[in-house]
């Protein structure tokens, strides 16, 4: 099995869900300020989540999984950004209209049809990331598309929703969250599964990001935009990689997931080849062998090892909430007929054992390292091999059987054994629907069973909201241009694409348009100014972003009247960043006057400038004299004028 893939051949399909925080004053459903992040807390609340049965008497798969984890959920509250709404002790206030407007702008720019009446729905999450146990979310637009390479990507829907809490820690049965981010408005842009290669995914993420930035009404900075990437291959199933923080991380993750799905399909075929087709064919037995391994050479099997780890955390009063129920237990899990499956390749560099470990870690809350050990990768400390033989013998493990050893609180080890069996059952079917979390090295790990559409039902706390066509028209009329139109317009005057993208991403585009429209400035020159020149100045520490719109307008108006000033742009902008009055800045730089008699200035410079070396050739003399002249004249007279006067004068003298 190889790690390089023909994406077309395997039928790779990728779709995106791009989350973008909106630049509003307040949160979506309460009056707390948005964007206030804190790192301490004034109060804490302990909660638990229970799933609700469906009318069929069944638990939704994800809910059931979360319920099995029996997690204690703690929320840390800070009074500056949290009210009783975040604590789920007060119903929602009327939805933030500013957020709806921005969502509509996004929809319009992406060519979506705006729904007539916005209905808020509840999307259940039982991991505790939202204290109510559900996220309030509503569709605002449907059926758009954007130009992408030589084709278009479909936009299925755009919704407005509230952001979730920030995870602080997740140890054992205790998960701790901060509520500062909770409730901040987000828009979620969902594309169709139209992307075909990992590289396209990165590009599409950046493209949609530029659309968001183009509205001018989104938050920037760390965490302000996150994307979820949905990946499937032919014969596989949709897997969601949740929370890809940067576009550059996407290609490795998508490739890794494609490899994983292809390998899991091969594992399915292998299992079928062994005659294992249905759940009943998977025989996994488990046994408490704690006493059998009480004197083990393997550290993990000794109770004292486990207890000392607990003791070190005992100082924290909350650490009790981390513990599972029961005494220390070592459990042997025998996988009948499943030898050589633990080492089956899945992601690049990882095996099927990693898949099992993900389930055990998340659902049984066994987060020690390693999660478990198994006979295909047994510790090599002295005596360990003999122990393995004894265990296999005791458990009647044949050559076709595999063995996993788990340790931890008794109840948790039982849960783990059950989840191992369930994951093998899933393996008979190929690729299970999962949500996976990305790791920095480009791999992914199990996070939860993928929620289905069944997790949603109406939020009856809020009435539906009609969106009139007048409102849509009002927003359409003031809509900034979409990025591809700007790319074309700037591109026509020769601006390179990376510069255009920089301008869109960093807000320079807005300033470009501002001064071009109001000061008659040349588009190309202005793009270079904001897109390249200013970049350097910013990098060297000049606070150029503090210059107000009025400041830029004043500056560029001057540029129009006194083109010579453009040569002295660096000094002028540096001055403007410190003191907002353009006249003062120019006066301080001695640039307030016009310099009228250029030829005379040139003549007098030639006569007074102390050059003695006759060895200067014409070119050097010219450059030297230009240097001398410009040091005095920069900003007062355009360089071209000086150069031309100098040439004439020198010519006249020869």
């Amino acid at each position: 099995m190889t790690d390089s893939l023909d994406y077309k051949k395997i039928g790779l399909r990728v779709g995106l869900e791009v989350h973008q925080q909106l630049d509003t004053h307040r949160k979506l459903f309460c009056h707390c300020p948005a964007g206030v992040y804190t790192s301490s807390h004034d109060g804490s609340v302990l909660r638990h989540m229970r799933p609700t049965l469906s009318e069929l008497g069944e638990y939704d798969g994800t809910a059931l999984m979360e319920f099995k984890t029996k997690k204690n959920v703690v929320y840390l509250l800070h009074k500056s950004n949290t009210c009783t709404y975040e604590m789920d002790d007060t119903p929602p206030f009327p939805i933030n209209q500013e957020a709806i407007d921005i969502a509509i702008e996004q929809c319009l720019m992406l060519g979506c049809d705006i729904v007539d009446e916005v209905h808020i729905a509840r999307k259940q999450y039982l991991d505790g990331s939202i204290p109510t146990g559900f996220q309030r979310t509503a569709i605002v637009g449907v059926e758009g598309s954007i130009p992408f390479r030589e084709r278009r990507i479909s936009i299925t829907q755009i919704s407005v929703e509230e952001d979730s809490c920030r995870e602080i820690s997740d140890c054992g049965h205790l998960i701790v969250w901060r509520t500062d981010r909770l409730g901040m408005p987000l828009i979620e842009t969902v594309t169709g599964p139209d992307l075909r290669t990992p590289e396209e995914v990165e590009e599409a993420i950046l493209c949609i990001g530029r659309v968001c930035r183009s509205t001018g009404h989104v938050r920037v900075g760390m965490g302000a935009s996150r994307q979820d990437v949905n990946v499937s291959v032919a014969g596989g199933r949709r897997v969601e990689i949740k929370g890809v923080a940067k576009a550059g991380l996407a290609p490795a993750l998508v490739h890794g997931e494609a490899v994983r799905q292809v390998n899991l399909l091969k594992l399915r075929d292998e299992l079928r080849g062994r005659g294992l087709c249905d759940a009943e064919d998977i025989h996994v037995e488990h046994e408490d062998v704690t006493n059998l391994v009480a004197d083990s050479q393997v550290d993990h099997f000794r109770a004292t090892n486990w207890q000392s780890q607990r003791a070190t955390r005992a100082a924290d009063p909350r650490s009790e909430l981390e513990h599972g129920r029961g005494e220390f237990c070592v459990r042997a899990v025998v996988l009948r007929g499943l030898a050589r499956t633990l080492s089956w390749p899945t992601q690049p560099g990882l095996t099927f054992a990693h898949e099992l470990q993900g389930r055990v870690r998340v659902i049984a809350c066994l987060d020690q390292q390693p999660t478990f050990i198994h006979d295909a990768k047994w510790p090599d400390c002295e005596g360990a091999q003999q122990e393995l033989e004894r265990l296999r013998d005791h458990l009647d493990c044949g050559g076709d059987d595999a063995l996993i050893m788990i340790w931890g609180a008794a109840d948790d080890t039982v849960t783990a054994a059950k989840e191992i069996r369930l994951r093998y059952v899933d393996a008979l079917d190929g690729v299970p629907n999962e949500t996976r979390q990305p790791k920095k090295d480009g791999s992914t790990d199990f996070e939860r069973i993928l929620p289905g559409p069944d997790r949603m039902y109406p939020d009856t706390d809020s009435p539906p909201q009609a969106v009139t066509r007048n409102r849509v028209k009002r927003l359409q009329d003031t809509l900034p241009e979409p990025p591809w139109e700007r790319e074309e317009r700037y591109g026509d005057v020769g601006i390179p694409l990376p510069t255009i993208h920089f301008l869109i991403r960093r807000g320079g585009a807005r300033l470009v348009d501002l001064v071009v429209d109001n000061c008659g400035s040349d588009l190309a020159w202005t793009c270079y100014f904001f897109g390249e020149r200013l970049k350097g100045l910013r990098r060297s520490g000049v606070p150029v972003d503090q210059i107000s719109d009025a400041g830029w307008l004043a500056l560029f108006n001057r540029f129009s009247r006194q083109p010579a000033l453009r040569d002295a742009w660096k000094e002028i902008v540096s001055g403007l960043a410190e003191s907002p009055d353009i006249d003062t800045v120019l006066a301080d730089l001695g640039l307030n006057d016009r310099f009228d008699d250029v030829p005379e200035g040139v003549r007098s410079a030639i006569e007074t400038e102390p050059f003695q070396q006759p060895a200067y050739d014409d070119g050097q003399l010219n450059r030297f004299l230009m240097g001398c002249l410009m040091s005095g004249l920069r900003g007062l007279v355009p360089a071209v004028e000086v150069a031309s006067a100098l040439s004439s004068e020198l010519e006249a003298r020869t």
Partner: protein, 464 residues
């Protein structure tokens, strides 16, 4: 048109006539195309009564709901139809011979529920089998019988509901229940707890009223834990009184059992809203059992016989005094035939001077006027100031530290027994279930002020 038969439930006016013209019906699986060319596929849902008559509501395949303006519909076709049948498949509640028998009486609201994800509807789960499915922990606590007495939001309850409820409690006790649980909306839970304290006396077993602040369809709901605590208190608790069981803090840590006559809803939405006023609660209840707080209660005793007494007169009211109140308000009440007025007075039990003659007129006409305090905590002590003394002279009778809502319930109950003034007042002032107490403990009034450093520090260190 009754709900059961109306194929376009909730749709009216313009939207309805369009849907009728297209031959559409609620629960139909449809494909809609609008004038902008967008396609929507989903189930037509019923329209809420208070929403406009211009939009069609669909639950899309993705799970989201959208509203489509009927004027923007280009085409619509029904692809299938599946009636929404809200019948939950039941598992039988296990019967364990050694466990106590608890009867759960339903008054409305959903202490437990299920979701029909296809339509988004929240379906009440009430029979023992349904409750077992939603809260399986109950089977470890008791054998459960359920009976639905009626189904109203608690703000719509009145004497017409209290009577059958009290009688149902009596029947359940006579039927051998080891404890009674009453599922109830939280708005007027305190009122019901008060009136049942008078209508159901000398009970041999606990009568525990329970509800939830967050609807039970939510993963975060307090319903399940409240129910577990309440059933536990009814099954194996020792307090044979009418009591309310709700959250202690807003965290999932423990519940409190409050005596019915002194318990009030103190916040519109917090889980921790119910508090005992002017005293301490009866007990803490959590998964490990009970921790008694107040040793003064009627203990469980199967040899006692419950007395059910539902006599009442509903011509009673509360007058919430405010400065500038005019006497005509009192005159109007008397004119309309009210026989009992509970005044929620300011301070130690005061109203303004201009009201005195009107109150005297009322009392002379046989209306019984009693005084409680708006501040909720503290005693009506009308002998301290002139105003109070003058009111006593007029014939207004103080009710010490009885809560205004409890006083209303008691006055209505008492007037069902007698209208003889001295008898009425004697009954009012003679506590049946601690609705008047002789002593307020120093920790009966503990409203901590947020913002003070020591208080905020305490809150930071303890679970909210």
């Amino acid at each position: 048109m009754s709900d059961a038969k109306d194929p376009l439930k909730g749709y009216r006016g313009h939207a309805r006539s369009r849907l009728e013209r297209w031959g559409m019906r609620v629960w139909g699986d449809v494909r809609v195309r609008n004038t902008a060319g967008s396609t929507f596929e989903g189930v037509i849902l019923p329209r809420g009564e208070t929403f406009d008559d211009l939009h069609l509501v669909l639950k899309l395949k993705t799970g989201y709901n959208v509203g489509i303006h009927v004027d923007r519909i280009e085409s619509i076709e029904e692809l299938g139809f599946k009636e929404a049948v809200y019948k939950i498949p039941e598992k039988a509640f296990p019967v364990t011979p050694d466990l106590p028998n608890v009867t759960l009486l339903g008054t409305g609201g959903t202490i437990a529920s299920r979701l029909d994800y296809r339509t988004g509807a929240v379906i009440p789960a009430f029979t023992p089998g349904e409750l077992y499915g939603a809260v399986p922990e109950l089977a470890e606590l008791c054998n459960l019988t359920t009976k639905k007495i009626f189904g109203v939001f608690s703000e719509n309850m009145s004497w017409a509901e209290y009577v059958p409820l009290a009688e149902a409690v009596g029947e359940a006790i006579d039927g051998g229940a080891d404890g009674i649980v009453i599922g109830h909306g939280t708005d007027t839970m305190g009122h019901t707890a008060s009136v049942l304290s008078f209508m159901v006396q000398n009970s041999p077993v606990p009568v525990v009223i329970v509800g939830s602040q967050r609807s039970s369809d939510r993963p975060s709901s307090d319903a399940a834990l409240n129910l577990i605590h309440a059933v536990s208190a009814a099954a194996s608790g020792d307090i044979a009184e009418v009591q309310i069981c709700m959250f202690g803090p807003t965290s999932d840590r423990y519940g409190l059992l409050h005596r019915g006559t002194r318990c009030r809803k103190m916040h519109s939405s917090y889980r921790s809203t119910f508090r005992t006023i002017g005293d301490v609660p009866l007990s803490v209840v959590d998964r490990d059992g009970f921790t008694a707080i107040n040793p003064d209660y009627l203990p469980r005793d199967h040899s006692r016989n419950v007395r059910i007494d539902t006599r009442h007169d509903d011509r009673v009211t509360i007058l919430y005094y405010y400065p500038g109140m005019k006497p005509d308000v009192v005159d109007a009440l008397v004119e309309k035939g009210y026989r009992g007025i509970v005044i929620a007075g300011t301070g130690l039990g005061h109203v303004n001077k201009p009201l005195f003659p009107a109150l005297k007129r009322a009392i002379d006409q046989g209306v019984h006027v009693v005084m409680t305090v708006q501040t909720l905590w503290g005693f009506a002590q009308m002998y301290v100031y002139d105003t109070g003394r003058d009111l006593l002279d007029v014939g207004v009778v103080p009710l010490d530290n009885m809560l205004p809502e409890t006083a209303l319930m008691k006055l209505g109950w008492v007037l069902g027994h007698t209208h003889e003034h001295d008898e009425v007042m004697a009954m009012m002032r003679n506590p049946i279930s601690h609705e008047i107490t002789e002593r307020e403990p120093h920790n009966g009034y503990l409203i901590l002020q947020g913002g003070l450093p020591e208080v905020d520090e305490f809150i930071t260190d303890h679970w909210k």
